[in-house]
């Protein structure tokens, strides 16, 4: 992480951690200040819209990272986002639950489903887990499509109310930006705290070598279920945010392609640290829009950039500074 030189003399161990704490406070405050000004600085609402989508993508990528760091890769992550989206939308549309409350319930509900499912499917390892989550995603899409009495089938759900807290509507793009930013920041801080806690250390050792971790007496399946539950629950909240922001969802909103996109963010950004997910989301979400002017070439360039990043920066974009330093040092 970046460190800010605070002109302290000879820090002891305690004051070093104290300093780290203050550094983070400063960083968070700085981020908040930048975020506060952002919607006003962007040239028009389209940019705000893209910024909003980027923040939510960041939430998805971070939540996937939590699962990834216990050594499991979910190829059905979009299904949990979709589950949260439908749950929150239906709660607010059919039962009149206020959208912010429904968002929280959706998150908890998605986490519960993930916990139950995880208990069954987390027995599978590696590529088999990837495959079963892929199938779960397909199953979810089919279910949403065909359970018409509940989900309105392919028609999707329209007129989903925007999130409102104490009379303040987060429907307009610039206002939603603040909501998305706060949730994003909370998820970010939570992920950071998690990676620092005993949980995080257990996660780490599981990711590095699951068999070794097991033989050290770490209950790997417990940690995997916890990570899967938390990650999927956060994805559910992210999905619900999209539902209340776009105010429309359909089975096409969260598909296999979204799951793949989240993984791509993780890999392109860099998997070794949690903020790689953030960098990946910030890089890839607006990228197609930058390439619009190339018309037909847009997607080709997108794919080529993906391959190039992997080829030149196997550690993802977050390894760019180190790679540059290495090249510079080599000269």
């Amino acid at each position: 992480m970046n460190t800010v030189d605070t002109h302290m003399t000879q820090p002891t161990a305690a004051s070093a951690s104290q300093r780290g704490f203050w550094t983070r406070i400063v960083l968070v405050t700085l981020a908040c200040a930048v975020a506060y000004a952002t919607p006003g600085l962007l040239p028009n609402l389209f940019y705000v819209h893209i910024a909003n989508l980027t923040l939510v993508s960041g939430i998805f990528a971070l939540s996937l990272w939590i699962i990834y760091c216990v050594g499991q890769l979910s190829l059905g992550h979009a299904a949990f986002a979709g589950l949260g989206a439908y749950a929150s939308a239906l709660l607010s549309l059919r039962l009149g639950v206020p959208p912010f409350v429904s968002l929280l319930i959706a998150g908890i509900g998605t986490a519960t489903v993930a916990a139950l499912l995880g208990a069954v499917i987390l027995r599978l390892r590696g590529v088999y887990f990837v495959l079963v989550t892929f199938l779960f995603g397909q199953m979810f899409t089919l279910m949403v499509l065909n359970w018409q009495s509940l989900t309105n089938g392919a028609n999707g759900l329209i007129s989903i109310p925007p999130i409102t807290i104490l009379g303040l509507s987060f429907g307009p793009r610039p206002v939603f930006f603040y909501f998305a930013f706060v949730v994003f920041l909370l998820v970010l801080l939570f992920t950071w705290a998690l990676s620092r806690s005993t949980f995080g250390r257990a996660f780490d050792s599981i990711e590095q070598n699951i068999d070794l971790a097991e033989s050290c007496g770490i209950d790997t399946s417990k940690y995997q279920i916890i990570a899967f539950t938390i990650g999927s629950g956060i994805a559910g909240v992210g999905g619900a945010m999209i539902a209340h922001y776009i105010r429309y969802i359909s089975p096409d909103t969260f598909t296999f392609h979204n799951s793949v996109a989240y993984i791509t963010m993780l890999v392109v950004g860099g998997r070794s640290l949690f903020w790689g997910a953030v960098v990946g989301a910030a890089f890839l979400t607006p990228l197609p829009e930058f390439l619009r002017d190339f018309a037909g070439l847009q997607h080709i360039i997108y794919g080529a950039i993906m391959i190039l990043v992997l080829r030149l920066l196997p550690g993802g974009l977050i390894s760019l500074p180190a790679t540059l330093r290495r090249i510079g040092g080599g000269k």
């Binding site: 940019y47 392919a154 096409d252 960098v279 890089f283």
Partner: protein, 386 residues
């Protein structure tokens, strides 16, 4: 990271907008690739031809200002997420005065809150009733939905063919679910049994098992409904491969060229098709020639319909003397009647059905494919075909 990207955008934007002074942008969001591309490219062609007319004539003269028209076209991939992003870009970044598209009901449902809020006219081809709902006063529709023509057309076809048991496959989405109700009740009204029905996921290419299931129910007529053009072609082909010799009917958006291309003239012989307008009109044929000269290949019949609506909007702008006051423009558009377009005279309809008058109506026709070409066998109005 994010900040650098944003800075990049800002500079890119500054470069992008340094064009002539009096330029007006018209947006397009339609499927330009994938399943609905035949329709989407027809819409894009319509917009380009309409704009070409105006720019060649020196621009659009509204009040004292003359506008050169620029097009911003984005692919919706027939997907609601992409349609929403595209429409945000059109509304806020390109500041499009109006938007041609989207096609498909889900993309429309997804973006109509944005266009309504920002008072942007859209011209859709989506069959959802949302398009005509009172709360979306800027949503217009160029294409007649099945609901309007199912009854007159099917009653004509059933009498003509003596159809008794009709089988059909619908795409499993909003469009398919809406159509299946309209079409089934139209067959019922005409005295035929249309209970042999199944749904398929968009993108499916092998229909043999599903068709086998329908054939086992003893159908004598197959209804292609509004399946995407390429899919309709595959259905005709695979029906014939299963030895089906009965009649095939298309009560849905124009797909004749694609059906002929995919299934071949032999398999398509005798096909009854819905024609969006009377294709034997000289103006329609002239438009088609112009389109094919410009783009090659074939022309989907949606094109002249969209061309007509686009021109009605330009007409509305001229009459209202503004390109920004959408309410004034739609008020003027509403006054247009018997508007001459390549496909025939256009009027607004829909009061009794949706309580609004934003559905474009152009008399349509029924065609029968013979020798690889659809021939008009009946022209229709809202009541009947003859």
């Amino acid at each position: 990271m994010k900040k650098t990207l944003l800075c990049l955008t800002v500079s890119a934007l500054a470069l992008g907008t340094a064009a002539g002074a009096e330029t007006m942008t018209v947006g397009l969001v339609a499927p330009l690739s994938g399943g609905g591309a035949a329709w989407g490219t027809a819409m894009k062609g319509a917009l380009e031809l309409a704009v070409e007319d105006i720019n060649n004539a020196g621009g659009l003269k509204v009040g004292d200002t003359t506008y050169d028209i620029r097009i911003a076209a984005y692919d919706s991939h027939y997907n609601p997420n992409d349609a929403v992003t595209a429409v945000n870009r059109l509304v806020f970044e390109d500041e499009a005065t109006f938007i041609v598209g989207p096609l498909g009901s889900a993309p429309l449902a997804a973006l109509v809150p944005t266009t309504t809020e920002n008072k942007k006219i859209t011209i859709t081809g989506g069959f959802t009733p949302i398009a005509m709902a009172e709360e979306h006063p800027y949503s217009f529709r160029a294409v007649l939905p099945t609901q309007i023509y199912a009854n007159p057309q099917i009653s004509y076809v059933v009498t003509e063919l003596g159809a008794q048991k009709v089988g059909s496959l619908f795409p499993n989405d909003e469009t398919g679910q809406t159509m299946s109700n309209d079409i089934a009740s139209a067959y019922q009204n005409a005295g035929a049994d249309a209970s042999a029905v199944d749904y398929y996921e968009r993108g499916r290419v092998d229909f043999v098992p599903l068709l086998t299931r329908l054939l086992a129910q003893g159908i004598d007529t197959f209804e292609l409904d509004g399946s995407p053009p390429q899919t309709a072609g595959l259905l005709v082909r695979q029906l014939r491969e299963l030895g089906f010799t009965g009649n095939i009917v298309r009560t849905g958006g124009d797909a004749t060229d694609d059906i002929l291309a995919v299934a071949g003239a032999e398999a398509s012989e005798g096909l009854y098709v819905h024609m969006e307008y009377d294709g034997s009109l000289p103006s329609a044929q002239a438009y088609q020639t112009r389109y094919i000269d410009a783009y090659g290949g074939t022309m989907n019949a949606f094109s002249p319909l969209f061309y007509t609506t686009i021109n009605m909007i330009f007409e509305g702008m001229k009459a209202a003397g503004t390109i920004d006051d959408t309410d004034a423009i739609i008020a003027e558009m509403g006054k247009l009647s018997d508007f001459d377009g390549p496909a025939g005279k256009a009027n607004w309809m829909g009061q009794e059905i949706w309580g609004t008058m934003r559905q474009q109506y152009i008399p349509y026709a029924i065609g029968k494919v013979s020798g690889g070409k659809p021939e008009v066998i009946a022209t229709c109005d809202l009541e009947k075909c003859e």
